[in-house]
Symmetry: C2
Subunit: 237 residues, 2 copies
């Protein structure tokens, strides 16, 4: 297992493109404790790798530096529900912070880079660094708000509205709105999107087809080009 002193780790962190949102950013001036591997840095994970398993003891929060991850919950019957997707700059595992074990699994959708922060480390440093706490609360808050918006969209939308909300969410979370044309790279399968939105994969396919016919988007397998953001925004309400 990796064994770095914090100073080395944090040195590397300063060059991370996502440092602004990362916990590491809040630890500047932290007294070093090179003995325990509380911060695992730049773990490179292949596609399909479990970051953590549902039921496993919770040990870390993860900061996603590159790639993408799906968060999936399975009930007793084996039904599976994708709860959320995560993108660079986001924190994975937050929803489990006050439980002893993970309540869902996190799986990479593509080759990804994550940094792991141990819970004792986080908790100890929250007391010392108010900014760290604030950062965590903000991520927490974003998680709740995202959930609320998902609920609204899924509850009251027909399929085409749900997919519209999904696309807009991707644009927003990946900061794509300022590019022309807006290009989305879907790292998840149609089945994943369908599961996430509570639709059948066939319906996702049909709605994308319908969007394309109406000139709203240009869809080519995993690449989506948004031609008319205003119209898409209007569609979802």
């Amino acid at each position: 297992m990796l064994q770095f002193g914090y100073h080395q780790l944090l040195q590397g962190c300063r060059e991370c493109g996502k440092i602004k949102r990362c916990f590491a950013n809040d630890l500047v001036g932290n007294p070093l404790d090179p003995v325990t591997p509380n911060l695992l840095h730049d773990l490179i994970q292949p596609k399909g790798r479990y970051i953590y398993y549902q039921g496993e003891d919770i040990k870390n929060l993860f900061f996603l530096k590159a790639g993408s991850v799906k968060n999936i919950y399975a009930n007793n019957q084996g039904d599976q529900q994708i709860i959320n997707f995560y993108f660079p700059g986001e924190v994975i595992g937050l929803a489990h912070l006050y439980h002893s074990y993970y309540l869902s699994s996190a799986i990479t959708l593509e080759k990804s880079i994550v940094c792991a922060f141990s819970l004792p480390f986080i908790q100890a440093n929250c007391e010392k660094f108010p900014n760290l706490l604030k950062n965590i609360l903000e991520h927490f808050n974003a998680e709740i708000l995202h959930c609320h918006e998902s609920l609204l969209a899924i509850n009251h939308g027909i399929a085409s509205k749900r997919l519209g909300v999904f696309l807009l969410d991707l644009i927003h979370r990946q900061n794509l709105a300022h590019n022309r044309p807006i290009l989305i790279r879907l790292t998840m399968s149609r089945a994943d999107i369908a599961n996430y939105l509570g639709l059948a994969p066939e319906t996702v396919s049909r709605v994308l087809g319908k969007y394309e016919k109406s000139g709203l988007i240009l869809a080519n397998k995993k690449k989506i080009q948004i031609n008319n953001l205003n119209k898409l925004t209007a569609l979802v309400g």
Copy 2:
């Protein structure tokens, strides 16, 4: 406006049946500051009263001592979505903690009693009282988990499954499971339930009727008696 010193307020708090989950419980030994009205105690609200309005500046977190509250979000088009219901011992307004204004409205469903904690008060005391912070994070966490479960239920359930999940959630959150028979008092209208579950009010009515015919429950207007909790649990998966 009410003007009490904290010692008086906290005195009253110790007799509150919900003190265990309340922030006030974490403030024992707090130095008093009787000047600012940071803690408004036992506000009695009639049915239909707004605790806060969507768009209003966020000033307080609220602890619900008695009654029940619905949390509702309206988009630009005027579509409304009930995000959650709150019951005694729960905290209202948490999802807005890191925004400047409320992103949804909270409305009492019946005569209710709430206590208001100002944000500066909360924030200042979080630094002094680790238990307070822990408490807030636990409430936060519960909020996220509830959201996840709602998503799962609503996404992958047919109407009867959604309503089953809803009833089980009420039983759980109101600690009704240990009573025989289990009696639920629905403080919200059928239309509210329908909106929350993403169904039509007629469907809610029909599903309740179906439950009753199958002997699962006994429904009499706002009162629901659960006859077969195991069967209901099995139904929702």
